[in-house]
């Protein structure tokens, strides 16, 4: 059994207020894939991600990780293998120091303290913030908080990383650092984002969601070259694939900026 495979079959989800957020979603993600989930606000991206490690449970259909169905009884195993990085790192960092925050997961899995320390230092080292380990999380910059949130998941040694808007509210250099970091991971990665340039750089496959349904599931480049699909789903090409307003100045096909 490989814990890296994610299988979603006919997933439906209806919120308690009656809003149907996901309709008949099906896909399979295999070992080491890097998949982008894109769509407008309210399309259902975050709701979908929350099903992958049992924060939410399907109203219909099934989600399984490495052939283990996501159920209440399987949550401890599922959550050890699927690391979920929240959109707002402040929701994820609640201990009094970065070290304790990163150690929170391993300690919950009752690892011996020397193993916890090894994992924490290695995770902090990977994201490049080992020097911040004794700082309180609320004193970090947004980029540092994001790194600490990622470290808090890496310390659990997950096989799959699920990230909700990882580049939101980051300055350009922190964003670039994050992209490099995500590139270096060998994990299976699932990234929901509005940052289409980042999706283009990191994910070889992209799933487009609109009104809770999968509109397209293909290679990222093909998706971003399909202007009709992008228009229907309310998206645009990544900036790097759009015409440069300065270079194309004066040309007849230049659109107003």
């Amino acid at each position: 059994m490989s814990h890296h495979i994610i299988e979603v079959k006919n997933l439906d989800y209806v919120y308690p207020d009656g809003k149907q957020a996901l309709k008949n979603i099906s896909f399979r993600i295999t070992h080491g894939e890097s998949v982008g989930i894109i769509g407008l606000n309210g399309a259902g991206k975050s709701t979908l991600l929350m099903h992958l490690n049992g924060v939410l449970f399907p109203t219909g259909g099934e989600v399984s990780i490495g052939e283990v169905a996501v159920r209440k009884s399987t949550l401890p195993v599922i959550r050890q293998h699927v690391g979920f990085i929240f959109q707002n790192p402040d929701d994820q960092l609640f201990m009094s120091t970065v070290y304790d925050d990163v150690a929170f997961g391993p300690r919950n899995y009752k690892l011996p303290e020397n193993e916890v320390e090894k994992r924490v230092l290695s995770a902090l080292d990977t994201v490049g913030i080992a020097h911040l380990r004794n700082r309180p999380p609320y004193k970090l910059s947004e980029g540092e908080k994001r790194s600490a949130a990622i470290a808090s998941i890496l310390s659990m040694s997950p096989d799959i990383l699920v990230m909700d808007e990882p580049s939101s509210s980051l300055d350009p250099s922190s964003r670039r650092r994050l992209i490099k970091l995500l590139h270096s991971f060998k994990h299976t990665r699932i990234i929901a984002s509005h940052d289409l340039d980042m999706v283009l750089e990191i994910c070889e496959r992209t799933i487009v969601i609109k009104d809770g349904e999968i509109l397209a599931d293909d290679s990222t480049l093909k998706i971003f070259q399909n202007e009709e699909l992008l228009t229907i789903s309310g998206l645009e090409k990544p900036f790097c694939m759009q015409k440069c307003p300065v270079c194309s100045a004066g040309k007849s096909d230049m659109e107003p900026v």
Binding site: D91, F94, D100, F104, N108, E113, P136
Partner: protein
């Protein structure tokens, strides 16, 4: 809203102070918890007129503040917040108990004033001891000490999560009040017509935020036990600290040190 921001900083200050590396901070959390408990028991056990007898207890918080590098001003500000409670408890004593208790050639002090002073002194000592415990041990250290004492995990969890929730609540209050004040430049404070919606918003927002924090805890394997890592080992210093201070408290309680020192000095003068 500087006052809310200040409150938030105040809460975080205790956390930050607890991260220092002084000899007091290095002690085992259980040692500090038990010593503080024995201090509290001895302090509250004094009679209502035992003012002079309990004065030496001041040495304990002062010694900890000096060795633990804890500044007095922030602790004093916190004491001020809850001081009306203590004042309310004792303020009527001078009116009802007018019998002279301390008679000096130039001054007579009634029993009411003495008992009021004792109440205030007990208040200052107990609150100061509790604040110093948090500032030298941290809430997680206290939690691990409570678990070591076999306090049920549900109570320890309540303590930790309430402590964390206060910071979330204050953050949301600060945001809501800032948003309100930016759009109501001529009003001082919040108009009563907005109290309902603001407090409702506050409740919902903090609830949602707390929910997200809880979800992130669940995602990292949280199963009802707040694991704070293995406790440090007891050292000889821990034993000396606990025994030394407990003996000191007992001596103060039953020895009436100021009276003995006074008698000694009087004998010497004679």
């Amino acid at each position: 809203m500087p006052t809310i921001a200040e409150s938030l900083n105040n809460i975080r200050l205790l956390d930050e102070l607890s991260g220092q590396a002084t000899p007091v901070h290095r002690l085992h959390p259980l040692t500090k918890l038990l010593t503080t408990l024995s201090f509290l028991v001895v302090t509250v056990s004094f009679g209502k007129y035992d003012l002079s007898a309990m004065l030496p207890l001041i040495i304990y918080p002062v010694a900890l503040m000096i060795t633990g590098d804890i500044p007095f001003t922030p602790l004093f500000k916190r004491m001020l917040i809850i001081s009306p409670l203590a004042i309310g408890l004792g303020i009527f004593n001078p009116f009802f108990d007018r019998e002279p208790l301390i008679i000096l050639p130039w001054l007579q002090i009634s029993g009411g004033w003495v008992s009021f002073t004792v109440i205030m002194l007990k208040f200052v000592l107990t609150v100061l001891a509790a604040l110093i415990l948090v500032a030298t041990t941290g809430i997680t250290g206290i939690a691990s000490a409570l678990r070591a004492l076999r306090i049920p995990k549900i109570f320890v969890m309540q303590l930790i999560l309430t402590y964390r929730y206060i910071a979330l609540l204050l953050e949301e209050v600060a945001r809501i009040l800032l948003a309100y004040s930016l759009r109501s430049p001529f009003s001082r404070g919040v108009h009563f017509s907005a109290w309902g919606s603001l407090s409702g918003q506050l409740l919902i927002k903090t609830h949602l935020r707390a929910q997200r924090v809880y979800e992130s805890m669940l995602c990292r394997g949280f199963a009802g036990e707040y694991n704070t890592g293995s406790l440090k080992r007891f050292s000889l210093l821990d034993l000396a600290y606990f025994t030394g201070f407990t003996l000191f408290f007992i001596t103060v309680r039953y020895g009436n040190i100021p009276v003995r020192i006074g008698a000694l000095i009087t004998d010497l003068i004679k």
